[in-house]
């Protein structure tokens, strides 16, 4: 219960902070709209709802990738990384809310992109399974945030972690089925897509909106999200032990 409370309060605090930040707030809202606009011009009218949903979910990953990659570097810049590591609360429970909060910023971009498509391009969002759609969004956000957590703890030894996070923005947009069906890629690409939660999050949101069965995709989101967190916990343990032993947490 205490862990859940810590996660919840940490998430709320970081959402409030990011909402007021230019890069993580304003840009997370506006940046995906540029890509959505281009996509709306590229697709034929009958495919615009497909494009609108894909571009909307792209924003969740866009808000997560660069900033989650550098989440721990940011704590280092602020001089709070050592305090977080030394605090009695498990370190992972302090970092996980950061990356889920970042993914949550993508919710604003998701709504903005759907509204942008409706108001400027006349794309009507008709939901076949509204309840499943409503469930799919937070599940997708949590699983993408968990992937961000894994990135955050994996990149902690890199001073330029934001650039590594930024590097993964386009590839995930490309191979997770946001605007390009996986069938267009060579066979060797598909297994990579399958281990990425955004693929299943996108599927779940699209299936629930367009009338398919979103439950298997939601299950995969939960499964992969749990796997990322478990892997992230193991990496965190190892990283903290090494940082303490070698006194390299500050990277100075």
């Amino acid at each position: 219960m205490r862990s859940l409370r810590l996660l919840g309060i940490g998430w709320l605090m970081h959402v409030k902070m990011y909402w007021r930040a230019g890069f993580d707030g304003f840009l997370a809202l506006v940046y995906p709209l540029f890509f959505a606009t281009v996509a709306f011009f590229m697709f034929e009218p009958e495919s615009l709802l497909y494009a609108s949903l894909g571009a909307a979910v792209m924003g969740i990953w866009g808000a997560t990738s660069t900033s989650a990659g550098s989440a721990m570097q940011r704590e280092r810049w602020h001089g709070t990384l050592e305090l977080l590591v030394a605090s009695p609360a498990p370190f992972a429970l302090l970092i996980l809310p950061i990356t889920i909060a970042l993914a949550t910023m993508g919710l604003y971009s998701l709504v903005a992109t759907l509204l942008w498509g409706r108001l400027l391009f006349g794309i009507e969002l008709s939901l076949e399974h509204p309840l499943l759609f409503a469930v799919s969004i937070p599940v997708a956000i949590a699983s993408i945030g968990s992937l961000g957590f894994l990135m955050a703890v994996s990149f902690v030894r890199y001073r330029r972690a934001w650039a590594l996070g930024n590097m993964f923005e386009y590839p995930v947009w490309l191979i997770c089925g946001f605007l390009v069906p996986l069938s267009l890629f060579p066979d060797w690409v598909r297994p990579i897509s399958w281990v990425l939660a955004p693929t299943w999050g996108m599927n779940a949101i699209r299936e629930s909106a367009l009338g398919g069965n979103a439950l298997p995709d939601l299950a995969m989101c939960v499964l992969l999200g749990a796997a990322y967190v478990a892997l992230g916990l193991a990496v965190t343990e190892r990283m903290l032990r090494a940082a303490r032993a070698r006194a390299v947490l500050a990277l100075t």
């Binding site: 890069f23 011009f41 267009l184």
Partner: protein
């Protein structure tokens, strides 16, 4: 004249190496080599999915448009980082001629942007198996240089805005996004609404992208000379406007003590 040239070439290169953080391999490789190739792939595959244009269309458009990252980010950083490092005041009280001081920084930016663009074009073409005649590569490279020049002119202007706002990374990303939408990198200009075509005509890259596409389709450099000249003209207008903007801000900052306000 020797001092002017030294400030232009040596000072410009020194400032570029000192202040443009992307030159570290840990940033350069992911942000300026890997990302542009994936932008090319992303839009080429979206194009396939949407049944829109050929792969060549997206390779040319995105390779040139991605030059905006090294152009706009670098020019903005080269001015705003002086403020961050508390050296802007020293630079501006120095008797160094302003033209050499500001334009000297632009030269390495143009060279780097051209390289990034050429790399994205070459790797994107190879990965997507785009068939372009060998004789077209040199003229396309020339057009890439014109595009890098014109966008660096725009970068000078955003560098001036960078003195007025704190969030220069946000500013540069917004400029990148606008260029992505309006320059015809992924959507043919004639498919855009009229008012967007009007905006396109006033931006860098629009003519360079069109010229490079025509060269890739087999036309000669002479056929697109007018477009290339117009691209250079647009860049010159932005560079002059950007330079005057910077000088005006410097004058205002002296009068009102607002140099480091943002």
């Amino acid at each position: 004249m020797r001092v002017w040239l030294r400030i232009f070439f040596v000072g410009g290169l020194t400032s570029y190496r000192a202040l443009f953080g992307f030159l570290s391999p840990a940033i350069f490789i992911p942000s300026l080599l890997v990302a542009p190739v994936f932008q090319v792939l992303l839009f080429a595959y979206i194009g396939r999915s949407a049944g829109a244009q050929s792969d060549e269309f997206y390779v040319v458009g995105n390779a040139i448009q991605y030059a905006s990252i090294p152009c706009v980010f670098a020019m903005t950083q080269l001015i705003s980082e002086e403020r961050q490092n508390r050296t802007l005041g020293f630079i501006l009280v120095s008797p160094a001629p302003r033209l050499a001081l500001f334009l000297g920084r632009a030269l390495p930016v143009i060279v780097n942007a051209w390289f990034v663009s050429a790399f994205a074009f070459a790797v994107g073409s190879l990965l997507l198996d785009v068939d372009i005649q060998g004789s077209a590569f040199a003229p396309i490279a020339l057009v890439g240089a014109a595009a890098a020049f014109s966008c660096t002119g725009l970068g000078l202007f955003t560098a001036g805005i960078g003195l007025l706002v704190r969030e220069t990374a946000v500013l540069s990303n917004v400029v990148f996004g606008l260029l992505l939408v309006f320059t015809g990198a992924n959507v043919a200009i004639e498919d855009l609404p009229g008012w967007m075509q009007g905006v396109s005509a006033r931006l860098p890259f629009t003519r360079a992208i069109e010229a490079a596409r025509r060269l890739a389709d087999g036309e000669s450099l002479a056929d697109v000379a007018g477009l290339v000249a117009a691209e250079v003209l647009v860049g010159t207008i932005y560079a002059v406007a950007g330079f005057l903007f910077l000088v005006t801000l410097e004058t205002q900052s002296r009068k009102r003590a607002t140099l480091e306000r943002a």
